[in-house]
Structures are given as C-alpha cells and as structure tokens.
Symmetry: C2
Subunit: 265 residues, 2 copies
Amino acid sequence: MPRRRNAPAAQAAQASPLAEKGAAAERAFLAGYDAARFPRPSLAVDVALLTVDERRLRVLLAQRTEHPHRGRWGLLGGFVGFDESIDAAATRVLKTKGGHSGVFLEQLYTFGAPGRDPRTRVISVAHYALVHPEKLAQPAPKGLALQWADVQVSWAGERGGPAAALIDGRSQALAFDHAEMLGLVVQRLRGKLNYAPIGFELLPLDFTLFDLQKVHEAILGRALNKDSFRRRMLASGLLAATGRKETAVGHRPAELFRFKRQTGR
Amino acid sequence: MPRRRNAPAAQAAQASPLAEKGAAAERAFLAGYDAARFPRPSLAVDVALLTVDERRLRVLLAQRTEHPHRGRWGLLGGFVGFDESIDAAATRVLKTKGGHSGVFLEQLYTFGAPGRDPRTRVISVAHYALVHPEKLAQPAPKGLALQWADVQVSWAGERGGPAAALIDGRSQALAFDHAEMLGLVVQRLRGKLNYAPIGFELLPLDFTLFDLQKVHEAILGRALNKDSFRRRMLASGLLAATGRKETAVGHRPAELFRFKRQTGR
DNA sequence: AAAATAGTGTCTATGAGACACTATAGT
DNA sequence: ACTATAGTGTCTCATAGACACTATTTT
C-alpha cells in the first residue's frame, strides 16, 4: 500500500507571499486546536494469523486472560498506540501476542459497530497474516495461551459470511465479532488467490507443485484439477525449478520449486 | 458486510451457575472501566463519490473552508460521532457534504499514518460511492463549494499508485493523503469489475450495451472488444431486455436493458 | 446517399478439464 | 511385484478476440 507522511507541510515550505499568509493562518489554527473537544473511540487492531497444515486451513487463537470475554478464544488483538501507525501496531501485536514476525501481513477491513466491544466504543482494523507450517515450531511467548484452530466456513465460493474455529473438532464461540472477521479473511483469500501469488506465503522455501495445490485447495475449500493446476502454475512464470527432488516419500519424488519473486518486490 | 451488535451479551443471558459467576465478574470489570486512561486518535471517514460521464471517470471534490489545507480540494470527509457506526458516518457525510443519498457506498481502506493530519492523530476510513450522471443534477447543499474533477491515473492495469484530480484540465493538489485514497479507489474498481456487477451503479435504470461498455472502458482506462463485451454481458444473466429502443440518436437505435437484481439483494 | 452505431455469423487462438499413459521412488 | 504419486501427451469444450457483413436510424 502507498503511504505518505505529512506531504502537505513539505509543500507549504516553498511559499509565495499569498501562500505564506495562508500557512501562517494554518499554523495559528493548529496551535489553538484542542484535540480533546470531542469524545473519541478507541482504536485497536486484530490479526488473523493463518497457515495451511495437513491440507487444513488453520488460524492462531489466543485465550483472553482479561475481561471482556475472559476465557474465550479470539484473534490476536491490541490497542494502537497514539503515535503508532496502524501497520506498526499490527506487526507488534503479531510479534508480542503471537510470537511471529517477518511474515506476510495485510489490512483487511475496519469494524466499528457501536456495541461491538462492551467496554467503550472500540474501532478495530482487522488484518490477516500468512505463515508456513515450518515456522510453526516457534515457542509461544511465555504466559500466553495460544492454540491453532481449524477454520470452517459454511458457504461455498466467495459468497461470504462468518467462519467457525474448531479446536479438537469442537466449534468455539469467538470473542467480539471475530467470527465475522475470520469469514471475511477466507473470502478475501479466495478472491486474491485468482490473481495474486498468495499461496507461496503459506509454503516453505522449497515445495512441490502438489504442495502448492494442497494449499490452494485448503483455501478454496474444493478439489482442483491436477493437470490444469500444473499448467497454470508453470505458465505463470512465478516458479523457479531447483533441480532437486523430494526424498523419502514412498513414491516417485516430485521436483522442488521456489517462488520467483517479482522484480522490485 | 456482515455486522453484529453485542451478540456476546445476548449469549451471557442464558447462564449456567459457572457462567453466571463469570458474567458477574465481567459486569464488575466493565463498571470500573475507564475509557479515558489512554490517549485516543480521532476517527474520520472520507468518501470518494465517483461517476462516469462522457466516457470520463470523475470524482466529486469539496473545497476545504477550514484549516488545515484551507482552500484545497479534497474528498468528502467528516468525523465519526461517538455513538455512530462507520457506515452511518459515511452515509451522513455523503448526504450532508455531497448532497447524495441512496447510492452504492462501500468501505475501502483505513489510513492511519501518524502525521497524515497536522491537527492531531486522525484515522480515516476511506470509502467510495458510485452514482449515475442522471442523478448529478441535484443541487449542492448550499454554502458548499463542490466540483466534479476528472480522475487520472499514471499507471496501467491494477498496479496501483496515487491518482490525480483535474479541474478544467489542471491537476489539483489534494488535501491530506486523498490522492492515495483516490488511486486505491481506481485500483479496487478495476479489480471488482471482473467479478461484481459494479458497472450498473454508474448507469441510469435503462441503458444500452454500448453505454455499459463505455463505463467499463472509463474505469479500466482502455478500450474493450465490442463483440466479446456484448457476449459476456448477455451471457452473465444480469441483463433484462426491456424491448424498447433508444430514440433520436442519429444512427440505428440500440435496445435498452435493465439490470436484473440478484435474488435477495 | 452518407454517417454512425447496432447487431449477427464465423474463424482462430487460448486455456481448462478429462483421460490415458509412462516414470520412479519406497516397501 | 506392488503401491502411490510425478509428469507428459492429446482430445474436447468454452470463451475471447478479430473480422466481415448486414440492419436501421438521423441528417
């Protein structure tokens, strides 16, 4: 996403006399601005960290240790600091509450219905992050109850709706509106899979074409045609053959590929 | 978008003894919660109202009458009330500052870089709205300087980047990060055109296939194949033939169609 | 008649799905 | 030898683009 800081201030610097008068007026206005005049909602971020393991789409949940919804499972969440960007807050929450960093992370949607948090008005900017299961071995930050849950949606295609999270096969009532957030994540992923190289974020450095297909199938919730999938992926130009093969697999070993990063990414 | 209010409170009502104890503790916690402990950013919405007129994609701009960026053109914006949902705020801003209601309106992305507003920390939830040019005749709310500007992007396809707004052919420096917002709107529209019936929002009730094609071309920024476009649209099942034809057009009149709304929408 | 767009028919290129077949590892 | 998956070749079908042609209105 493009982002810019305070560009207008930089433009005001190169001032004509008229512009200088306006700039002075603006400085005076800003000096007298009282930010506390209006009551303001609190701002939070929530992060759905996803992986695909054993053909299943899974999400990392944290058990809430505080009210509200104490004891309930929910996405990784936290408040945004006053001088902290939204991206930075999401990155920090993922690291300190989920123990992961350096993974794909993207903003999803902002939830702000009054009453979604019983404490006070809280706006939450929902994010999703993707990690491959090899990285899962990392120990959870100590003192945190974390658990990977299966993601299950009751709708097909990209229709949308809430998603359920299953721990040991049992559906969990999630905190706040996190079931809606999770459903929206699945919907976004399914849409994005058609045009963005998103599957690679859920795989280790080296992977086989079948591995990649299993990731796609887990996200889409349906089986894909093997032949067509192979051709599409090889034709995409995003795969670099390593020349090496799987070992110890009980059948003919498949070739290992790597993701060929786009130029300038 | 799915939305839910305070569902957890409803669930707490059907209480087992253990759950009742937890609910009591939660009520006690909430009674003692002080929302003012942490400094909080202000929350705003911005709305890019778009139309397609004479094959050009256009956006409604408002001239700022107050600091900061007084005199500059920007999207329609305003603060979110403490008890107001984000959607409601966007609808209200579109109505009171842009004079339009009953149009397609959707959340886009949330901008929250520190310093994007010189007053104080302001988070803005960017939206976009679509209206057809027949509705444009509505008079602007009095006292507001509003102006339709041409939207111009310097990038092709869905690559993304900021967009420029042109009034009388001259590019305007937009307030805040509104050039980024506008660019993101175009990117989103181009993507959405492939799978969502978005073009109809920019057309009057009755329209010809060529009208629809012109809308698509304005959004995509490139010419489309006539034959293929016709076939695709007729095959989509979204068009209802009216049996009537254009009149007074200086050439063979085309048949008028209507948008066949999806069941349940 | 000229101009301009509407609308139809047909050919070709491309990509997905289906299916059959061969290849190569572990057991 | 058997099993399981890898990987190739070929056929069919659906769809997009290109192009040619006819149709129908106003000026």
